[in-house]
Structures are given as structure tokens and as C-alpha cells.
Symmetry: C2
Subunit: 181 residues, 2 copies
């Protein structure tokens, strides 16, 4: 499937709502749970998504439009939320994510980009030349990936509780992908 604004925007708009419906006011046993040392809880994931709004998604779009592939994007700090989320409640984080995402999409719409802009080139600090379309598709896939992480982290809290049904639930498998990115 090729990236198209009409497909991508509805998904990007929904992510904060989906996470709110999934997580708001849920017992802390779910929202604070993780998959072991070095892994993230649903609370951590929401903070990570906020940091992406602030420093990655639209900032890199604007960077690319300004500098093309001459200046690499600033490096993204994947774990900035461990400091930034301190002292905040999940409810506050969900509000911030919703507000930040709305602002991001307003900025994106205001640019009036078209399909031909998707081939515009930028420079990733690690990958080298990338396109605007690849960056925007990554925004969508990254959202979906972290929603998937949230439900997997939650499901795995019941790995033992499900007894023999574990065999039918690969999401509970001992080793999963790490989308701590």
C-alpha cells in the first residue's frame, strides 16, 4: 500500500482517542505494567508518543522542507519520556497527547502538501536519504506499533493466568519484538 494522505490522516487522528479508550482510568496493574527490565509500560508508551510529537514528526517534516537532504534530522531521544513523564498522571499524558497530535496535524494540513511532495528528500542521521512519504508512513506505522505494544504488554500480564490457553495466544509468547523506538 502506497502512502496517501487520505488513508494516513484518519489513522493519525485516532491514535490518542484509541489510547484514551484503552487506558484511561484502568487499574494501575495494567497501565504501569511492563515486560521486564528495560521494557516499557503503557504509561511509558504514551509519554514516548508525546515526545515524538514534540521533537520528531512535524519537526522533521519542517526540517526536511527547509533543508532537503543537506542537513540530517536531529537525533530522536527514544527514552526522553522517562524524565519528561515524571510526576504526571496518565490522564494528563493522554490529554497532552491528544492536544499535541491535533496541533501536529493542523501544522501538517497548513502546509498544503500534495502527492508530489512525498518524493521530497531529507537526510536521516542513520539511514541517509529518506523521503517525506517514508517519514509520514513511518509516523502511521509507529503509532500502530505502539498501540500493539500496549495491548501486548497488557495481555502478557495474564500469561500464567490463562493456563493451558497460552498455547493458543502467541501474543503471550516469552519473547516478542521490541518496539522501544
Amino acid at each position: 500500500m502506497e502512502f496517501q494522505f487520505d488513508d494516513a490522516l484518519p489513522v493519525l487522528r485516532r491514535t490518542p482517542v484509541v489510547l484514551r479508550e484503552l487506558l484511561l482510568d484502568l487499574p494501575g496493574a495494567w497501565t504501569g505494567a511492563n515486560e521486564g527490565p528495560g521494557t516499557w509500560s503503557p504509561f511509558d508508551v504514551v509519554g514516548h508518543l508525546i515526545h515524538g510529537e514534540r521533537t520528531d514528526w512535524m519537526p522533521r517534516v519542517e526540517h526536511l522542507l527547509r533543508h532537503g537532504d543537506t542537513v540530517p534530522f536531529p537525533v530522536f531521544d527514544r527514552e526522553a519520556m522517562f524524565a519528561e513523564s515524571q510526576g504526571l498522571s496518565l490522564s494528563e499524558l493522554l490529554d497532552t497527547l491528544a492536544r499535541s497530535r491535533t496541533e501536529s496535524l493542523d501544522r501538517l494540513m497548513a502546509l498544503g502538501l500534495t502527492g508530489t511532495d512525498l518524493t521530497r528528500r531529507g537526510r536521516h542521521p542513520e539511514f541517509g536519504v529518506v523521503t517525506l512519504g517514508q517519514h509520514l508512513a513511518t509516523w502511521v506505522a509507529h503509532d500502530l506499533s505502539h498501540v500493539g505494544q500496549v495491548v501486548r504488554v497488557m495481555a502478557r500480564q495474564y500469561s500464567t493466568a490463562v493456563g493451558p490457553w497460552q498455547a493458543y495466544l502467541p501474543i503471550l509468547g516469552p519473547k516478542g519484538p521490541t518496539e522501544n523506538t
Copy 2:
């Protein structure tokens, strides 16, 4: 984490809402997409969850309370939705899932089960003796597993579109778990 009603019920209540926010009115390129032959689309998953409400979750609770471990549960048809969902819209399926889930949880609450009931035994047609608590924990994990499947199927439609970022997104990996159960 042990199964407890207070943890599990809010998750079970939210699944239809989460899927509605994620999928309703989304372009068919997302909701009808799958991961290749023999795999399920988000549309298929919603139908599968409806079939679970009708024939698995509360029916098996009631079966276990009636028969204990003397009579195995009827076998669950994992792919019944391919026939049952025919001619229906995703919007209709999401409505049906919401209504069915509310009815299921009303039936569950009406039973007035307590923590001690969780050790009551039933008989799974394949696993043999299982407990009510394991069955109920599986209901939760199964929901979360299929929400995870939906976002993974969607994300993978952009496996190529993200370009080099695929390396950062394990959800896009060529082979994933199959939770077609």
C-alpha cells in the same frame, strides 16, 4: 498477575469501543487488508470476536457452572465469521459486537461470582481440565491479542512505504505470530 474481576471487567468493557475508535469509517484499504492468504483482516477479526460472544465466552462459563469437568465445552469454530459476516458492513459488526459484549458482561455480573468460584473446574475439548479463572483470563488476553492483530495488519500495509525505517519497526517483520484463534 492473578485474574481478578476488578482488573478484567474494565478491559472487557472497552474492547468494542477501542475497535470502534480504531476502525469505524476508516478507508477499506485498512479495514479489508490482511497479511496474505489465510490471514484475517480487521473486518474478519471483528466478526470473530462476535462469534466468540455468541458461542464461547459466556456460553462456556455457563457450561462449566452446569457441568463442571464432566462434559467438555463444545468446540469453538474459529472461522465461523467468514460465513456469518457476509453481506454485513463493518459498522453493523461493530454495533453487534458492542451489544453482544454488553449482554455478555450483564450475564456475567448476574451470576454474582466471587474469587473462590475462579477455581471451579471445567473441561476443554483439547486441554482437559481448566478453571473458570483461566477461561476468564483468556477472554481478556484474547481481546487484547486481536486488537494487537488489527493494528499489526494495518501497520504492515506500510511495510514498503516506510522505506529504511522498517528496520526500527519490528511489527513490520515478514513473519508474525498468528492469532487466528
